[in-house]
């Protein structure tokens, strides 16, 4: 029987040696294994590493945590007195805020979100200057260049590409500068988070992204925010390492951030650090957290409080006695008293400043509008009408915020 060609398997050219090969464009890229975060958040306190921790660093962190806690309490109290329009508290997250400030050198830059005034204060910024935005005064109460602290950023994650651009520019100029950008768990869903991480990795920019995962984006829990194994895992998709740390373990946060900063400094590129922490207060004073979470969760986290954890370690190692504890508490109290006193003074705003810094030079229409306002002010002075609100230090929406959960 003649073998039919139609039943013969058509053989490819060079068929004897034929092996399937990957598509021509494909090539192996980064090995993902070293980029993966550890399965559990890195900890120092309560582990063998604690004994090796530098006592001086631990005591510095302790003093800053206590001051930070007191600062949060004072700022929250100021909202109730109508002295702050709104305050997004970082109570419970002080270890993250303080460590972020302490790992920065003089020339490094901090890119805070609206919840990060404590990090700015811990970096040395005058708390009154840090709070002008939240007071309803001018948006940025300080010169960002003087402190190397970018303006507090209200639109979520939009400050992250700024950090990348600044770090990139510094590297192009040959300057030894690292940018540390702060963002929350909710912010990781924004497009700007994705774009910033992608740019940073492609450019190998000396920048560190620090996510404080405090469990909630206003009311929305992490489970509704992401299906990622952890937020730190997101780093792998961009080709940078992800690091996971216990955000209430101050020396652990300090160590992980320090390593990421050092990596950036030495040309190793960006790192994404996720700190697992908890927002003990509501989103802001205008928010009601009882609508979306139970007391049991809050109580569980109270046992894992950053100050408590550090105090236990310090006491166990004999580094902290009652006298020292009292000295630290008194220092924090004095800071709060000064802040309270200064925030009780009415700030004086000049309405004519509305037109001052829209452009380097005023446009014709701004000159006309400035003339209009000046005439209104002069008329109100003549009639003795103080022009309510023109110098008001009070919240634009009142101390309790009737308009809901403003960011």
């Amino acid at each position: 029987m003649r073998k039919s060609s139609s039943t013969t398997v058509q053989e490819l050219p060079g068929s004897a040696a034929y092996r399937p090969t990957p598509p021509p464009a494909w090539r192996p890229r980064t090995d993902p294994a070293p980029l993966l975060p550890d399965p559990e958040p890195f900890r120092v306190l309560g582990t063998d590493a604690a004994a090796a921790a530098d006592p001086e660093l631990l005591l510095t962190l302790y003093a800053q945590l206590v001051r930070g806690r007191r600062y949060n309490a004072q700022a929250t109290a100021l909202t109730k007195q109508g002295r702050l329009a709104v305050y997004p508290s970082s109570t419970g997250q002080e270890a993250c805020e303080v460590a972020a400030a302490l790992v920065l050198r003089e020339q490094d830059w901090l890119f805070p979100s609206y919840r990060d005034t404590l990090a700015a204060v811990a970096r040395g910024l005058d708390p009154v200057q840090a709070l002008t935005l939240l007071r309803g005064d001018w948006h940025t109460g300080y010169d960002p260049h003087e402190h190397r602290i970018a303006p507090l950023c209200t639109p979520l994650a939009t400050q992250l590409p700024h950090a990348v651009g600044l770090a990139h520019a510094a590297r192009l100029k040959g300057d030894d500068v690292v940018a540390l950008a702060l963002v929350g768990d909710g912010g990781t869903s924004e497009g700007d988070f994705h774009e910033a991480l992608n740019f940073a990795a492609v450019w190998r920019a000396p920048v560190v992204f620090f996510v404080q995962n405090n469990g909630f984006a206003i009311s929305v829990p992490l489970a509704k925010q992401t299906a990622a194994p952890s937020l730190a895992h997101k780093a792998v998709g961009y080709g940078m390492p992800g690091r996971l740390v216990d955000g209430n373990d101050a020396p652990a946060v300090h160590q992980v951030l320090s390593e990421a900063m050092e990596r950036a400094r030495s040309g190793g590129g960006p790192t994404l650090v996720e700190a697992v922490t908890y927002r003990m207060d509501a989103h802001t004073n205008a928010d009601d957290a009882t609508r979306y979470r139970g007391d049991a969760d809050v109580e569980a986290w109270r046992e894992h409080d950053p100050i408590l954890l550090l105090e236990r370690e310090l006491t166990a190692r004999g580094l902290l006695d009652d006298g020292h504890r009292r000295t630290v508490a008194e220092g924090a109290e004095a800071m709060a008293a000064r802040l309270r006193e200064r925030m009780n003074a009415d700030p004086v705003l000049d309405p004519m400043d509305l037109f001052a810094e829209v452009y380097a030079e005023r446009t014709g229409q701004l000159r006309e509008q400035a003339d209009l306002l000046r005439a209104e002010l002069e008329a109100s002075e003549e009639t003795g009408d103080a022009g309510e609100g023109s110098h008001s230090p009070h919240s634009p929406r009142g101390p309790r915020g009737e308009e809901g959960d403003a960011r």
């Binding site: 960002p144 003087e146 590409p161 700024h162 651009g165 990139h168 740019f199 492609v202 380097a360």
Partner: protein, 343 residues
């Protein structure tokens, strides 16, 4: 506003035909050569030289760090430019097409436009955002938008658009030299328009915010900008047959707005038509007509009219000629300026 100076040329070549695209490229090149802080970044601006070739040769001359192909992400590009400007650089960003600039709106509106104001002058952002805009090139969907009204409505931005080869150079140099952010709108269909121009002896760089009278006339003023300037000049020539002597004002800068030049013209002619490709409702023409009416009411012989694109999403290219304001539509508007009542 800001005025830039140009370097004195060695020996000036005699003027010869040049395109707007060439003038823009020359402006970028000269700005980069003069100031190492000037960095160009965008999609395809490096090896390719941009989809319109405006950045052609810049990466080769200045290196990839000065003319950078970025990942494809407009918010990221502009956001990174913000950080670069914070650190003292002078970024020039290319948005590939008008409608592709929309992802960058949040960065533009919430940060670029406001940074000087929110830092009380401590942190100005000298960023130029170049946006090829407008129709008439047969571009498919999302390649032909006139987005100027969005930018005009955002305090803190300057909005500039050239209509001539000479202005393309002078205004782009001024935009890059400005310490405030500039949205620099490049009329796509004028990229290949030509004029005699000597790139070795560029015209004085104009301060931003000054309109130019392109044609002197006495019977009515056509107020226009960018891609509609040649349309208005053509209409003005055609109008002479009707006995109308039209003045044509090229705004050049939508923000700041040159009330002085525009109103001086309208007060003389007593009649005005605003012409642009952008949609009429909520478009730049409404603002311009209102400003002119408020300032020149007693000199006006007729209401200020508008000739604009229809209030529709940008049409398919096969229909765009019906959408774009053409010579006939401009002349029809001029005919409606109550000539009988005046005589």
């Amino acid at each position: 506003m800001t005025t830039a100076t140009t370097t004195a040329p060695g020996t000036a070549a005699p003027p010869k035909p040049a395109t707007m695209a060439q003038a823009l490229r020359r402006a970028l090149r000269d700005a980069m050569a003069e100031d190492p802080a000037v960095h160009v970044l965008g999609e395809d601006v490096g090896t390719l030289g941009g989809v319109f070739r405006i950045t052609d040769g810049l990466a080769a001359e200045f290196g990839d760090d000065r003319c950078t192909d970025t990942p494809l992400a407009e918010a990221g590009i502009l956001g990174a430019a913000v950080g670069m400007a914070m650190y003292g650089l002078r970024p020039v960003v290319e948005m590939q097409f008008d409608a592709f600039a929309y992802p960058a709106f949040e960065q533009l509106f919430s940060h670029v436009a406001r940074m000087r104001n929110r830092t009380r002058g401590a942190m100005p952002l000298p960023i130029t955002v170049r946006v090829p805009y407008g129709g008439g090139i047969g571009g498919v969907e999302h390649h032909s938008d006139s987005s100027e009204a969005y930018y005009m409505a955002t305090p803190g931005l300057q909005v500039v658009t050239p209509a001539t080869v000479e202005d393309a150079y002078g205004l782009l140099r001024a935009a890059i030299a400005s310490d405030d952010p500039v949205v620099f709108l490049e009329p796509k269909r004028l990229y290949w328009s030509k004029a005699d121009w000597s790139p070795d002896a560029p015209a004085t760089v104009e301060p931003l915010g000054r309109a130019a009278v392109r044609r002197r006339g006495s019977s009515a003023t056509l107020i226009t900008y960018g891609p509609s300037v040649p349309v208005c000049l053509e209409a003005a020539e055609a109008a002479t047959a009707e006995g109308w002597d039209l003045e044509v004002v090229d705004l050049r800068s939508l923000v700041p707005f040159d009330d002085e030049t525009v109103c001086a013209s309208v007060r003389r002619t007593g009649r005005a038509v605003v012409v642009h490709e952008a949609t009429g409702f909520g478009g730049p023409g409404g603002e311009i007509a209102a400003r002119v009416t408020e300032r020149c009411f007693h000199q006006l012989e007729a209401p200020v009219l508008r000739v604009a694109g229809f209030d529709i999403p940008y049409p398919p290219p096969m229909l765009e000629r019906h959408h774009l304001p053409g010579v006939d539509r401009v002349l029809d508007a001029v005919a409606r300026l109550q000539w009988e009542a005046a005589s």
